[in-house]
Amino acid sequence: MTPLLQVDAVSKFYGARVGCADVSFDLYAGEVMGIVGESGSGKSTLLNCLAGHTPPDTGAVRFDTRADGLRDTVTMSEPERRMLGRTDWAFVHQHARDGLRMNVSAGGNVGERLMAVNARHYGDIRGKAIDWLDRVEIAEDRIDDRPTAFSGGMQQRLQIARNLVTGPRLVFMDEPTGGLDVSVQARLLDLLRGLVREMNLSAIIVTHDLAVVRLLADRLMVMKDGHVVETGLTDQVLDDPQHGYTQLLVSSVLQV
């Protein structure tokens, strides 16, 4: 079976400093990969390299495109990569403001990706937007409100709806619950779990929060100083950590 994403020896350096070094893994449809590490571990750098936001210095990021099979997105032309970013890929930012248009209504935000791939029927677009707002538990009567009128959790859920409306196959998430209240986090994680399962999504989630990966990720990569120090099944890495750093991370989590 072809992997959906094949990451091959991806590295990024900032002069002599290591952003991320020699990262390789395969991701299949329906799998969720968590990447954990503390600040400075290189996890966000890696995510940006994978999602096409920054070009890596070495390595390939091959994606199984619908039309041409496995293609290296690093060497793809920019228009192709941008098209991928609007259709098969999605990116959920830590701060909803980075992933939304704050001066456009919620319906417009959700509809934008549809209009970007030539949806031209207002009624249909609005109908889909309402459907998606409902799926992320935003009331229909908020469809014409701007995100500035939403709470942080609602903004984040709107960001998710906006990204998932075109049925992407791979979602990149950068600290999706960072900065949210604990109860709001729980709700969001629950929603993400449901959507990932329903839509058979693959996802790569970067976070420093081990509870998030336990809940959402099938597999886990632990990063330190730009290197992957341990990788495997999430529950195995968290319950039977092998590397000293992982053991330290796991034992540092406060039990409530």
Partner: protein, 289 residues
């Protein structure tokens, strides 16, 4: 003869502008950057249009200048006098007699001919500007033909007002490729953008030139279930009775009495000369104005 070079600008500047114009005509709807000069009028008063006119005028041309359709507003008069002084060209109010027409925010009612040039004054050339403030990003969107955002604007209109409420500067797609801002002409004028004359657009402050060659396809953006409609006030001109021209509304007394009249003064005058009389009008011969 004046102390100015013909039409104020030096020959090198005109050459630079002409190059930009040719490029604009070769790529209809594409915004060509140009080195906009300091003109003897402030930004926002038509410097882009003036520079384009200056570059295309020849001593044999006849110039007409209109502002919201009228020949006699302060701005139209100033610009017309400017070219009389610096280029000594013939000027006219009659659309049919002009070879170069500089306009602010309207297209003349009568059809233009292949030997005429229409020069538009443009405030903000970038149709995506209000939704995407970054110039780097809008340039990319144009080059990659990523225009989904344009429809977001129309979507927002419908969701707020029940209809596409954009009534002027209504965005169009030119020759199936570039999305363009036709300058703040009323949407009623959009269908006229497909014409036999050459159309040149100049934005002085923003330093952009764009163009539409004759017989180019220009389609106003819309949704399948909210098609574009070229609307105007649902009445006829009070002076000449025209039912098919764009109308200005005029308050005529302290009691709120109002009257509608053709925005295109030459068109209206022509109809009245031919004997047409509207509800508030008087026959032409008796009219002093």
């Amino acid at each position: 003869m004046s102390d100015y070079n013909f039409a104020y600008l030096d020959e090198q500047t005109k050459r630079m502008i002409r190059r930009a114009l040719l490029k604009g005509l070769a790529i209809p709807g594409y915004q060509v950057p140009f080195a906009s000069r300091e003109m003897p009028m402030p930004y926002g008063w038509g410097t882009g249009g003036v520079q384009v006119s200056a570059a295309v005028l020849t001593p044999d041309d006849t110039l007409k200048v209109i502002d919201q359709g009228a020949d006699d507003t302060t701005n139209a008069v100033s610009i017309r006098r400017f070219f009389q002084k610096t280029a000594d060209v013939a000027v006219t109010d009659a659309t049919s007699q002009a070879t170069v027409i500089q306009t602010r925010h309207r297209i003349p009612e009568q059809d233009l001919r292949p030997d005429q040039i229409l020069v538009y004054q443009v405030p903000i050339p970038e149709p995506l500007r209000f939704l995407e403030p970054s110039e780097v990003e809008t340039r990319k969107m144009h080059s990659l033909e990523e225009y989904g955002l344009m429809h977001v604007k129309l979507y927002e209109d419908i969701s707020k007002h029940g209809d596409i409420s954009t009534s002027y500067a209504y965005p169009v797609k030119v020759e199936g490729r570039y999305v363009m801002d036709p300058s703040p002409i009323p949407k009623f004028d959009n269908p006229k953008l497909e014409m036999s004359a050459i159309q040149l657009f100049g934005a002085g402050r923003e330093q952009r030139i764009y163009a539409i060659p004759p017989y180019t396809q220009v389609v106003s953006l819309d949704f399948d279930d909210y098609p574009f409609q070229a609307t105007k006030a649902d009445t006829a001109c009070g002076l000449c009775g025209a039912a098919d021209s764009y109308l200005d509304e005029l308050i005529v007394d302290d009691a709120g009495g109002r009257m509608f009249m053709c925005s295109d003064t030459d068109y209206c005058a022509g109809r009245r000369r031919a004997g047409c009389v509207g509800a508030f009008g008087v026959p032409y011969a008796e009219d002093v104005a």
